[in-house]
């Protein structure tokens, strides 16, 4: 699953986002370590810039603590995976797969999430245009009806997870899919737009009123970023 994941465009863009620091860190990883280490990408806006939809406190904890833990853990298990491969220890490689999936997924998902959010004065909430607007209208009738279906999908997640607007790489069609925990959008589907439905994404501000968070987040959705992901 690891190698598949790294071949996806999502993983490449996540790694690209981390590119400036990876060259300086690569040397520390030792000679057997081919890939650069994942690093926490900078946000292109301030922590408080998404208020009132998402509080500055949530953004800071979410980015600096939660996302960073995924990065650190991914690098740690990734190193262990390299060692297991070097020793041809297949059992150890298999045992590491769920950890790579979870922490690597957490890194990819959050990287894409930060990119598909924007403050209202930087285009957050401005409706999609062009091909993406057309695809949404064809599949859902209107943007409002799409948002309603997306919010229903978010509300239906049992536990922690994400809802994504994805593009089917086989048909080119867009659809809404939910993913458990940190399962990343890989394989047949291409991530276009994601919303974090883990409680840490909203709890300090919305507590159990998650429907209010799902409603408010559309004010800071960066549709321009989503449009660029559509092929």
């Amino acid at each position: 699953m690891n190698s598949t994941m790294l071949r996806t465009s999502a993983a490449r863009s996540a790694l690209r986002a981390a590119a400036p620091k990876s060259s300086t860190r690569a040397g520390l990883a030792g000679t057997t370590f081919v890939r650069g280490k994942a690093t926490l990408p900078d946000l292109s806006y301030d922590y408080g810039a998404l208020e009132p939809a998402i509080s500055g406190k949530i953004m800071e904890l979410h980015h600096k603590n939660h996302h960073n833990t995924y990065v650190t853990s991914y690098n740690n298990f990734s190193t262990q995976l390299e060692e297991a491969k070097a020793k041809s220890d297949i059992a150890a490689q298999i045992a590491l797969q769920p950890l790579i999936n979870f922490h690597g997924g957490g890194h990819i998902n959050h990287t894409l999430f930060w990119e598909n959010l924007a403050p209202t004065n930087q285009g957050g909430g401005d409706p999609p245009t062009g091909k993406l607007a057309q695809a949404i209208n064809e599949s859902y009738g209107s943007l409002d009806s799409f948002k309603e279906k997306f919010n229903t999908a978010l509300a239906g997640i049992q536990g922690s997870g994400w809802a994504w607007l994805v593009q089917d790489t086989q048909t080119g069609n867009v659809q809404i899919r939910t993913y458990a925990n940190q399962d990343p959008v890989v394989g047949q589907f291409r991530p276009i737009l994601g919303v974090d439905a883990w409680e840490h994404a909203y709890y300090l501000q919305y507590q159990n009123r998650k429907a209010e968070y799902f409603k408010a987040i559309w004010d800071v959705i960066n549709w321009k970023a989503a449009e660029k992901r559509l092929k």
Binding site: L61, N65, H66, T69, P98, F102, Q158, G159, S160, G161, A180, N181, Q182, W198, E199, H200, Y203, L204, Q207, N208
Partner: protein, 249 residues
Amino acid sequence: MRSIMKSSVAFVSFLFTTSTIASDQQPFQFEAMAAPSHTLPALPYAYDALEPHISAQIMELHHSKHHQTYVTNLNAAMKTQAEAVHTSDIPTQVSLQAAIKFNAGGHINHSLFWQNLAPASSPEAKPSSAPSLVSQIKSTWGDEAAFREAFKAALLGIQGSGWGWLVKVETGAEQRLAIVTTKDQDPVVGKGEVPIFGVDMWEHAYYLQYLNGKAAYVENIWNVINWKTAEERFLGTRADVFKLLKTSI
């Protein structure tokens, strides 16, 4: 088809119905199915009784909002289920299974959780209130500290939302202790499994106080584990545990 209907009826009746037990031998009674409505059990202590380990704000939201939502959604799903059974609408019955498992699980888990917590200053919160259980914990993990380490590692290893449980597993005349983690609201209801105590590892259980520091929450929860309840569940049967649950429903 019948097997699906019967098993869902049996599942619900076993756990919740106090008046009528629908078993495979008895004819199904629609009235019995439609009537029971589950209610939020009262906490056996005040919202602030677990401070400073679990804040009053967390306890109040957790009990009056989160647990209540599971109860509300369970009742709604059961009502729809009863109607679907009545009209032999099998696709609807099957489609409701996930919602029933999730919300019934949420109701069961939280009901057991409240009972297996106690104020830190109370005698129930001392492991000495559970002599038989502690003795088996020691023979299983070596000592209490090793058990706590193993339990902590299991809790922190949960990927996403879920629960950690100490479970008594009965296989024939034999019984052993096991640390079990479950995802989301999956309850510990397997044959021969007796849940002894559980720890909620959903973020709503600790986030307002501990933020992303869930290891500290897991450390502190030991101060408020109700060992007296744990001992009773350990010495009792699976049916006893859920009988306790029924009295609060």
